[in-house]
């Protein structure tokens, strides 16, 4: 059954993280779900804006929720930061009527109003809880047998509030890739922070955090780390060289969006899920999987 979602790509998926955007779109298409872009969406404000102005940050992020409300659809937000900020805005506006009134007064300047009914969803939640493993299983074309996967959830899709998975030991990615035939390795740092924007402001600290993540995955035999967040992906992938320089390590760990690895298992063509946008070589196992033909 086709379900529609109001798609909110967010700023980083527009270009720098096009691999995430393309793979989300393709995977949803393959599973017969329809994504309709939220018309003329604006930046959610990320975590930065919250630290500057309260009412303004709520209004900026609520503009997107208001537009989605006119579409009458759940919002699908793949970026962890967008997901957290939009969810948080939603929660605050629903809990504090005075703030909702203030925000609506501001939104009225743009001819919009928001009653608080839009639901904000993450693709991992929708894939596992709405579409479901059964539906995914019937469409699998390639078996991930032999691939060792470190599932990296990061911080913002599971915290601060219990949303759709456990906050300390989430399991949805684990279950998804086990169902695809892969081996999910022990990865105790699955919800540990990558430092996010600290890579720009406190580089040394962020390099150390990411080095620990890579080391943990490598020591547990992972062939690949899958992520759910553009910032985690960028820090782990684009800075891997710098980590190797700083620590004298020799990491060559491919970093994939979970939707890219799922796309491979669903038999989608490499280019359509943005595998050509990655910096690091995918390694023998993933390359042969992604090129494997299927009946």
């Amino acid at each position: 059954m086709t379900v529609k979602y109001a798609y909110y790509p967010g700023c980083s998926l527009e270009k720098t993280q096009r691999g995430y955007d393309e793979s989300v779109r393709e995977v949803f298409k393959a599973l017969e779900q329809e994504l309709i872009d939220i018309d003329d969406w604006n930046c959610c404000g990320a975590t930065v804006y919250m630290s500057v102005k309260e009412t303004v940050s709520l209004a900026v992020s609520a503009r997107n929720l208001a537009i989605a409300e006119t579409m009458g659809l759940d919002v699908l937000a793949p970026c962890s930061s967008c997901f957290t900020v939009l969810s948080k805005t939603n929660r605050i506006l629903n809990q504090i009527p005075e703030l909702q009134k203030d925000v609506n007064e501001a939104l009225a300047e743009g001819g919009l109003t928001y009653s608080g009914r839009t639901r904000v969803r993450h693709p991992l939640d929708v894939l596992m809880n709405d579409i479901g493993l059964e539906a995914i299983r019937t469409r699998l074309r390639r078996n991930l047998n032999g691939l060792n996967i470190a599932p990296y959830y990061g911080c913002q899709i599971v915290r601060p509030d219990k949303t759709f998975d456990d906050r300390e030991d989430p399991a949805l990615l684990d279950r998804m890739f086990r169902a695809c035939g892969g081996k999910v390795v022990y990865f105790p740092m699955k919800v540990r922070c990558c430092g996010g924007m600290l890579m720009t402001t406190f580089e040394e600290t962020a390099l150390k955090l990411n080095k620990e993540l890579l080391q943990c995955a490598q020591e547990n035999g992972a062939d690949v780390i899958v992520t759910t967040c553009p910032l985690c992906h960028f820090n782990l992938e684009a800075y891997q060289d710098r980590i190797n320089d700083a620590y004298g390590t020799a990491f060559a760990m491919p970093i994939l969006y979970f939707t890219q690895l799922l796309g491979i298992a669903l038999g989608l063509p490499s280019k359509s899920i943005g595998l050509d946008s990655l910096f690091l070589p995918l390694g023998e196992k993933i390359t042969s999987l992604a090129e494997a033909t299927y009946a």
Partner: protein
């Protein structure tokens, strides 16, 4: 001259009292913000924080210093700027304290009261981010990073050339920022929200020694929420 509250046991300086009052007002708008009263100083927050080793004050110490009437010390720290907002502390706090939101409140307070930040580069990045959003409606990462490194060290910008080339090769580099269509409508929303923010700022209460300890909380809605 810097004031030390230790010189006047049980009392606090006017600037400290005003900071405290403004902080408590921020805490008041955080859902379950009043749980800050329940801190047992167990240090679970510090132990859970992936960056506490790089802080000058630990998250636990932030709350201890607030209690001790040392808001000025908190304002000067790097701690509030180094928090990456991963919510590990908030998730684990046995007293349900919204520590990450409290750190956000402290950042807003430091900006509002124009305190010299302990890590000016973070504040710079936040300011540039907001400018970028105001100008285009969407974030253009290239512009943000370029402006940031122009101000913090042009040589580091050169270090980004290989990364930019890599992004270009993989068709991930947007050279120019793009404005959203409803840009003027978004600006009007932001202007109005700013107006509302000014309007809803409550009158400061007169200075009184009662701001010591948690009696200061009594002046806010927190007290009335206790019975809920």
């Amino acid at each position: 001259m810097t004031h030390s509250t230790l010189a006047l046991p049980g009392l606090m300086t006017q600037s400290e009292a005003e900071l405290r009052q403004a902080f408590l007002r921020q805490v008041d708008i955080i859902p379950a913000g009043e749980n800050i009263k329940r801190c047992i100083q167990c240090g679970t927050c510090t132990g859970s924080c992936p960056v506490s080793y790089a802080m000058d004050l630990s998250p636990r110490q932030l709350i201890a210093l607030f209690r001790a009437g040392e808001m000025e010390t908190i304002m000067k720290s790097r701690t509030i700027w180094i928090c990456a907002s991963c919510y590990a502390c908030t998730t684990r706090c046995p007293s349900g304290i919204k520590i990450t939101d409290i750190v956000y409140a402290l950042k807003r307070l430091a900006i509002e009261k124009d305190r010299k930040p302990g890590a000016p580069q973070v504040r710079l990045l936040a300011t540039l981010f907001v400018q970028n959003l105001m100008k285009y409606g969407r974030l253009h990462e290239g512009t943000l990073i370029r402006k940031y490194y122009m101000k913090t060290g042009i040589t580091r910008l050169l270090g980004f050339v290989p990364l930019a080339l890599r992004l270009h090769r993989t068709k991930r580099l947007a050279l120019f920022p793009k404005r959203i269509k409803a840009y003027t409508s978004l600006s009007r929303i932001i202007r109005k929200a700013q107006e509302i923010e000014m309007r809803t700022a409550p009158e400061p209460l007169p200075y009184s020694p009662e701001f010591v300890g948690y009696r200061g909380l009594g002046d806010l809605k927190l007290e009335s929420r206790k019975g809920e």
